[in-house]
Amino acid sequence: MSGNSFDMDLEDIAWCPGCGNFAILQALKQALADAGLAPREVVLVSGIGQAAKLPHYLAANFFNGLHGRALPVATAIRAVHPGLTVIAESGDGDMYGEGGNHFLHAVRRNPNITNIVHNNMVYGLTKGQASPTSGRGFETPVQVHGVVNNPLNPLTLALALNASFVARAFAGDIPETAAIIRKAIQHKGYALVDIFQPCVTFNRVNTFRWFKEKTYYLDDGHDVKNRDLALRRAAEEDRLPLGVFYAAESRSAFAESTGVFEGDAPPLFRRPFDVARLQALIESYRGKPFADP
């Protein structure tokens, strides 16, 4: 990792010692470097939460916006500037809770972005309430008698929505996580990487050890083109598979479908403006007088 161009000179990182976020940060830097990208080509878009602070610790462009709203911002950036590699990154509460509607519709829209979710199954920054992925029975200061809702399975959800790339990683394994993220970045279209991330402060149930014991990798022979299979594997609950569950053939992604970027059209901010066309359009509102009233 030394000498990674995404490294930053940092005095202080606002995460707890031992937090799984450090590993995700490292894996992401690795993945970006492995994908051959330079910091100025990359934009990290995040919401609010502990996970969402990541862009402050990695040398790249960034838009650290509102809680839950990374996906629309990321979608638009990529749409207007296809030369950029855009990564929308946040916590489970942010992406699946507050941002749930954008998650649904970003999957449908299929923009060419990577969506990384630090899934610690808890709201970290606000001090330990249940998140949509918290398990039943998980006790918190709000869910005092334990969580009663069905936990949301992001993978089956994304697959049910016909997502084009669906993967799960575990922060405890940096090299594999980096490899999965790299594949997601290189995939054309929307790519979800849900990353199990131990929160050492607020989640005493889903610990490093718990994840270590619960997870295993899909084997090499797993057919990533088989959506039904992906759905079945993603629905497993006893033990939780890791890896790329599904990767569709390239589908035309959002920016392409806008019809605004044909050939090697420049990004929008470098385009000349066609005054004549506007003139013609305005002229079409002129009255056409009659020859002889």
Binding site: P39, R40, K53, F63, T75, A79, H102, T258, V260
Partner: protein, 575 residues
């Protein structure tokens, strides 16, 4: 200067009333085109219910040899496609109004005149011809040439099947014959002076003016969620999107739309969203984010009566406070409120320039009345070219929020230059990284708010219409401009002026003193609480002698304003 065409034979006011789905808009389009083709000026405006079929809607068409561009309650002739309409129109029918309808069972000699619309439609081939028949009837009463109307019909239906065109031509002919008969028999007579010089002018509505303005402002990204009366701008830009390289996306909700607009500007586009009050509520957090990240943003806020769903297809000026104060925390913003179509075009274009130059949210306040009203405009000036986006090529040392005197730090675009571009929702340092340095916090707040100073200097002036020394001033903002203008012109008093604000925040200081000195200040606002008046009063230390407020969902009419002024104004020298 525009004057009232009414009552003195100067013009004609036609009202078409019927159910949704009966094609009243077709009549509106045909007659507008026909009269304009002769050189008349035409204003048309609509009031309609929130439904797709049925209900009771109406369209006003004013025809005049001189420019006409305001809503009026005066009706010379009204044609009913559906008799239910009559109860709703009561207040707009004068004793001298001719009312035409099918089976009204009008007493002999009255101004209520039965016409066999349904029967004629059967003759023409079916009930869907009723609109073209009505156009024919009206054209016949006016004694227009058959060929003129036929030309208009051919143009209007061009591209449709020949049978459709022929059917409509025949329908128009049937109507025309009846119209001529009514006119010749003396049962209905309409006086219309010879045409004016409305040749080759543009004819469009507010939706079109805003949309064209967006294009003229360089808009190349639109994301919105449908909501009346703002949706027209979205569909206009969608229709012309590919031609102009505009990315148009229907978002899953308004929150997404607003955040996409921020992403678009950040990525180097000129983005806009269009919505109404309830949708704007949902966008306010993103507006606040625009303020904090200093990411430009243009929001078209098309007002309609609230609260909540309210009257979704009607008009109001009830969201001034929301636009000014929505979104938590303190940061600069700009509120523009076009008064007519020229301003709608120009200020929409300017919204993009201001947002770009000052890195602030710009909110453009229109309303259903302005958006749905058509009239004639001499020209919409073309920009020479769209100025390049106010962004810099970044250097390795680039710091997005570098502190400086103006408060406007050079904005970079990711990928252009050697620098990295950060944007942060938290309080941040010069590079956009989270800070808890509380002194820096203060400097950053001051930096952001400092932009207001420059913005106020550049504010679009309020227009003073009338004698410099007028001691009575009618103050209005946004879409009431032309109504106020016509109303005051009709008073023929030399001591009354109109003061119209097309920028409502920050306030343009120009007219302050004159307004303070006025002896009688009258506020005109389309809401129940006089929101802008209260704000202006506080800022300029003035109070109101009278307030003309309206909030039933309809726009003020020229006559209402005039009646209000008659009551409010001190008796004085008449011209």
């Amino acid at each position: 200067m525009i004057d009232s065409p009414h009552g003195k034979g100067k013009g004609l006011a036609l009202v078409l009333a019927g159910e949704a789905g009966q094609g009243v808009q077709v009549v509106e389009a045909l007659l507008s085109e026909a009269f304009r083709g002769l050189g008349y000026y035409v204003f048309s405006g609509q009031e309609f219910m929130s439904r797709i079929r049925g209900g009771s809607n109406s369209t006003l068409i004013r025809v005049s040899p001189r420019p006409v561009r305001a809503w009026s309650d005066r009706t010379d002739l009204c044609i009913l496609f559906d008799n239910k309409a009559i109860t709703r129109l009561q207040q707009r029918l004068q004793p001298e109004t001719f009312v035409l309808g099918d089976n009204l069972q009008a007493p002999e000699g009255s101004r209520f005149i039965d016409i066999p619309l349904a029967e004629m439609a059967q003759e023409a081939g079916g009930s869907l011809y009723v609109n073209t028949i009505a156009a024919g009837v009206l054209w016949g009463i006016y004694n227009g040439r058959e060929e003129t109307l036929a030309d208009v019909i051919r143009r209007f239906f061009s591209g449709k099947k020949p049978a459709t065109i022929d059917g409509n031509l025949a329908a128009a002919g049937i109507g025309l014959k009846l119209g001529r008969k009514l006119s010749h028999s003396g049962k209905v007579s309409l006086a219309l002076p010879p045409p004016g010089d409305n040749r080759g002018n543009l004819h469009l509505n507010g939706t079109e003016a805003v949309s064209l303005g967006a294009i003229a402002g360089g808009c190349n990204f639109v994301s919105a969620y449908p909501m009346s009366p703002s949706t027209g701008v979205l569909t206009f830009l969608a229709r012309h999107g590919r031609d102009f390289g505009i990315i148009v996306e229907q978002a899953e909700d308004e929150i997404s739309a607003a955040n996409m607009v921020l992403g678009a500007w950040y990525g180097g586009a000129r983005g806009m969203t269009t919505t109404s009050g309830g949708g704007f509520d949902l966008m306010t957090e993103a507006v606040s984010l625009s303020g904090m990240t200093e990411t430009p943003m243009v929001v078209h806020l098309a007002q309609r009566p609230g609260p909540a769903t309210g009257l979704p297809t009607r008009t109001e000026q009830g969201d001034f406070n929301l636009a000014l104060y929505g979104g938590h925390g303190e940061y600069p913003r700009v509120l523009l409120a076009p008064g007519n179509l020229e301003q709608a075009y120009a200020l929409t274009a300017e919204s993009f320039r201001l947002a770009d130059a000052f890195q602030v949210p710009v909110i453009l306040l229109t309303d259903q009345y302005l958006l749905d009203s058509h009239y004639d405009v001499v020209d919409l000036p073309l920009p020479r070219a769209i100025p390049p986006l106010a962004v810099v090529e970044t250097s390795r040392q680039y710091a997005r929020y570098a502190l400086n005197e103006s408060g406007i730090s050079p904005r970079g675009v990711p990928g252009w230059g050697e620098g990295l571009v950060g944007a942060d929702s938290d309080e941040h340092d010069a590079k956009g990284h989270i800070t808890e340095d509380l002194d820096l916090r203060v400097r950053m707040v001051d930096k952001r708010l400092r932009k207001l100073v420059l913005l106020a200097e550049k504010a679009f002036s309020a227009e003073w219409i009338g004698p410099e020394q007028a001691s009575n001033v009618l103050v209005c903002w946004g879409s009431t401009l032309e109504i106020a203008r016509e109303a005051v012109a009709g008073l023929a008093r030399e001591d009354v002026a109109v003061l119209h604000f097309r920028q409502v925040f920050p306030l343009p200081e120009g007219a302050r003193e004159r307004l303070q000195k006025a002896e009688c200040r009258i506020l005109l606002e389309g809401n129940a609480t006089g929101q802008f008046g209260a704000f202006l009063g506080q800022r300029w230390g003035i109070d109101w002698h009278h307030r003309l407020l309206k909030y039933n969902g309809l726009m003020f009419s020229v006559e209402e304003v005039r009646a209000g002024l008659d009551k409010a104004l001190p008796e004085r020298v008449r011209k």
